[in-house]
């Protein structure tokens, strides 16, 4: 038992953090806190998903938000047009995102470095333009969620609760996936690809297959999150679903916390979202909040490039054992 705990301590810490975040609105009984924590959890789950590809494999997916948008569109379509229930919609969102990642990954993961990054931007922009041209998806207007769809949850209040706890569950899931992948042989293969792809292939890692599966794993949770977010939001349209700026923020979250670590995306996403909110709602800084956030980020990239968790790990051998 002790041994198991010791081996998995790197998992329990991020899970505890998430549990704390999830419990906070419960303890305070405040809806306002729940919404704030929702933004944070969403960011954590997105960042942790991206980290599987970006952190472990070293492939910079700039347009990762594309899976969030694809999931959202698939989910809202089956719910509002075909009348599916939310569980199936979330499953479908995840499946479609995973499937597209598989097909896409087999093609664009052949590209390396900046070329791959550029291709993912291209994919996102192409999807955005494409959905705007498909009338079945509402074209540029997008789709609305009729209020009556919230009735099964007992109105919007129940729906907000439901979505919140679903996102908590997905966040826990993605953290477990992150940890298991990192510790697995598959994960070691990915990290070998990150260090030197050619050498990894020489060592017997089937790089194309490994990369593709990493891509798929990093896409399914954003797909599911997209369904939940846009269901809650009540509306989806191409510009909101495939917002490149959010995609870049995802990378920022991962970098800030510590790339390639399980805890890093949790810390990075949480801190960043909290700071932005603080700046956003501060009477004096809100006019220049974007610039202040930019300056903070620059300072971190320049002076703490390994991110917060990476920095802690590098400072102390004992921390290195417990922080994954």
């Amino acid at each position: 038992m002790m041994d198991f705990l010791k081996r998995t301590v790197g998992l329990w810490i991020p899970l505890l953090v998430v549990a704390g975040i999830a419990a906070y609105p419960l303890i305070t009984g405040s809806d306002s806190n729940r919404e704030a924590m929702f933004s944070i959890l969403l960011a954590i789950a997105l960042a942790s998903s991206l980290n599987i590809l970006l952190g472990y494999t070293g492939y910079v997916s700039f347009g990762h938000i594309v899976f969030f948008g694809i999931g959202g569109y698939a989910g809202l379509y089956v719910m509002t047009v075909l009348g599916w229930n939310i569980w199936f919609a979330v499953l479908l969102g995840a499946t479609v995102a995973g499937l597209i990642a598989y097909l896409l990954g087999s093609a664009i993961l052949r590209l390396r470095g900046g070329y791959f990054a550029l291709a993912t931007i291209g994919v996102n922009e192409a999807m955005r333009a494409l959905t705007g041209n498909i009338d079945a998806l509402g074209g540029p207007i997008g789709m609305d969620v009729n209020f009556s769809l919230y009735k099964p949850f007992g109105g919007p209040g129940g729906m907000l609760q439901f979505v919140f706890w679903s996102v908590v569950a997905l966040t826990v899931l993605v953290i477990i996936i992150s940890f298991v992948v990192k510790k697995s042989k598959f994960g070691l293969g990915l990290q070998a690809i990150r260090e030197d792809e050619d050498a990894a292939e020489d060592m017997g890692v089937v790089a194309p297959r490994a990369k593709t599966w990493a891509y798929v794993l990093s896409a399914i949770i954003p797909g599911a999150l997209g369904v939940l977010f846009f269901f809650k939001n009540g509306h989806i349209e191409p510009g909101e679903a495939f917002r490149l700026a959010l995609s870049i923020e995802m990378i920022v979250w991962v970098m800030l916390g510590g790339i390639g670590t399980v805890l890093g995306p949790v810390v990075g996403a949480g801190l960043y979202q909290e700071t932005r909110k603080l700046l956003l709602t501060n009477a004096y800084l809100k006019n220049i909040q974007l610039a202040v956030a930019g300056a903070l980020l620059l300072a971190i990239v320049l002076f703490v490039p390994a991110g917060i968790v990476g920095w802690l790990r590098s400072r102390n051998a004992r921390l290195r054992k417990v922080l994954e």
Binding site: E35, P156, G157, G234, H235, N282, A283, I288
Partner: protein, 437 residues
């Protein structure tokens, strides 16, 4: 000139805000411009504060229109407070306070911020953000907390067909935006039958043109072009070349300010021979005149214009109630307060406050249910025009009382360009100029 003062003011504000941020920490998180919170009213009744919450787009693409909307609302609030607040018969006086956050023109945080407003800041009433997309997200939250939300700057019909019960629209809905322009064209030229629609791909403008297209087809028009453009478009030449090839009599469409004014400018530069142009949102904005010759004879629908005169007498003649300030007073006080003539977004913001005040006064309460009942029964004429809400379950809260006018830029007497009202005929300040050029 205007731009320079804006830039200077902004720079100064920035310096001040940084200085203020150094000296004091978190003393002024509330945005109130209102005066005292706890004073005893002369009548001996209690004085309380109503908090009205909303997000504004201080950053991002909706910044310009959102700012005007908020300015209009702020003017209403300041005037009510200066006049001693909203007084109820039981002696209670309500002062108004507003609470606002930046939504960054994106729906990411809209629900989070509205939840803050509804729960943490205990807002009694909500006003919508600018734009139909953000409003749809905010409405979910306002419904959850049973708050009344007055929407302004959110014209899309779809939001009101989602089943909300306490969301009330100030603007004439999108489906009726361009139909009056078609009526105007019909009255001018029975032979002008070819229409080209070029519009922004947004929730609002697509809703507008689709309704207008149906209306035009029912009335025997031939739609020779029907195309949307990306909201970020700056180069309209591909569209203009297509317009030229389709040789329509009239071009209808547009979207928001930036794209609409650019489209007008490039249509002018390309000397496109169409007889009539009517665009959404951009032409009624005073800044449209900066286009110079390119603005000449361009028409557009407007929710409200300083020249539109709804009067108490006219309202009474129709057997309807009159409420609030006059159009002239609004224009004068707004110009004094913000240094710029109001646009219809400003008027919409002011009217949102006004309709809320009217409902509170008729309900004699600030209880959301009582106010909602009062809003359902609202049938009143204000400087903004008549206001009345749909009370059916299918499209509750949709604006059904208010009508739009069509304006056109024409040569002015002391300035090169003047905005004239050319439709409806009864409200004309000048005859429409037709055909163009």
């Amino acid at each position: 000139m205007r731009m320079r003062s804006v830039a200077l003011a902004a720079a100064l504000l920035m310096i001040m805000s940084v200085l203020a941020g150094c000296s004091s920490d978190d003393s002024g998180s509330s945005e109130t411009t209102a005066a005292p919170t706890e004073t005893t009213a002369a009548s001996g009744g209690e004085t309380k504060t109503i908090t009205v919450g909303f997000t504004t787009s201080q950053t991002g693409k909706y910044n310009e229109s959102s700012t005007r909307q908020v300015d209009g609302f702020t003017l209403w609030m300041d005037q009510v407070n200066a006049a001693g607040g909203i007084k109820l018969d039981d002696g209670t006086t309500y002062m108004i306070e507003s609470k606002t956050y930046d939504d960054e023109s994106s729906s990411d945080r809209v629900q989070e911020l509205y939840t803050d407003l509804a729960t943490k800041d205990n807002a009694d009433f909500l006003i919508s953000p600018y734009s139909s997309g953000l409003t749809a997200a905010a409405a979910v939250v306002s419904e959850q907390y049973g708050k009344v939300m007055i929407t302004t700057g959110a014209a899309s019909d779809a939001t009101y067909q989602q089943g909300f019960t306490k969301v009330y629209q100030i603007y004439t809905p999108a489906s009726r935006y361009l139909t009056s322009s078609i009526d105007l064209l019909a009255s001018l030229d029975a032979n002008a039958k070819k229409l080209a629609f070029v519009y922004e791909n947004s929730k609002f403008s697509t809703g507008v043109v689709e309704a207008a297209k149906t209306y035009a087809e029912e009335n025997g028009y031939d739609i020779v072009m029907f195309e949307g453009y990306d909201p970020e478009t700056t180069d309209f030449n591909p569209f203009i070349n297509k317009i030229e090839a389709a040789s329509p009599d009239a071009v209808l469409g547009g979207g928001h300010f930036q794209d609409g004014s650019t489209l007008a400018k490039q249509l002018y530069e390309k000397n496109v021979p169409v007889k009539f142009i009517s665009l959404l949102v951009a032409p009624p904005e005073p800044a449209f005149a900066e286009l110079g010759d390119a603005a000449m004879e361009v028409a557009g629908p407007s929710q409200w214009e300083p020249l539109v005169q709804y009067t108490e007498d006219a309202a009474n003649a129709l057997g309807m109630d009159w409420f609030g300030t006059t159009g002239d007073e609004f224009t004068t006080t707004y110009t004094e307060a913000f240094g710029d003539a109001p646009s219809y977004h400003s008027a919409g913001g002011y009217a949102a406050g006004l309709v809320l005040q009217h409902a509170i006064e008729s309900a004699q309460s600030i209880d959301p249910d009582a106010v909602a009942t009062a809003l359902d029964a609202t049938n009143v004429v204000t400087f903004f025009g008549p206001l009345k809400f749909d009370t059916t379950a299918e499209s509750h809260g949709l604006q059904v009382g208010h009508d739009m006018v069509v304006i056109q830029w024409q040569p002015g007497s002391d300035e090169p360009l003047a905005k004239q009202i050319v439709w409806p005929e009864a409200g004309q300040t000048a005859a429409p100029m037709y055909p163009r050029g």
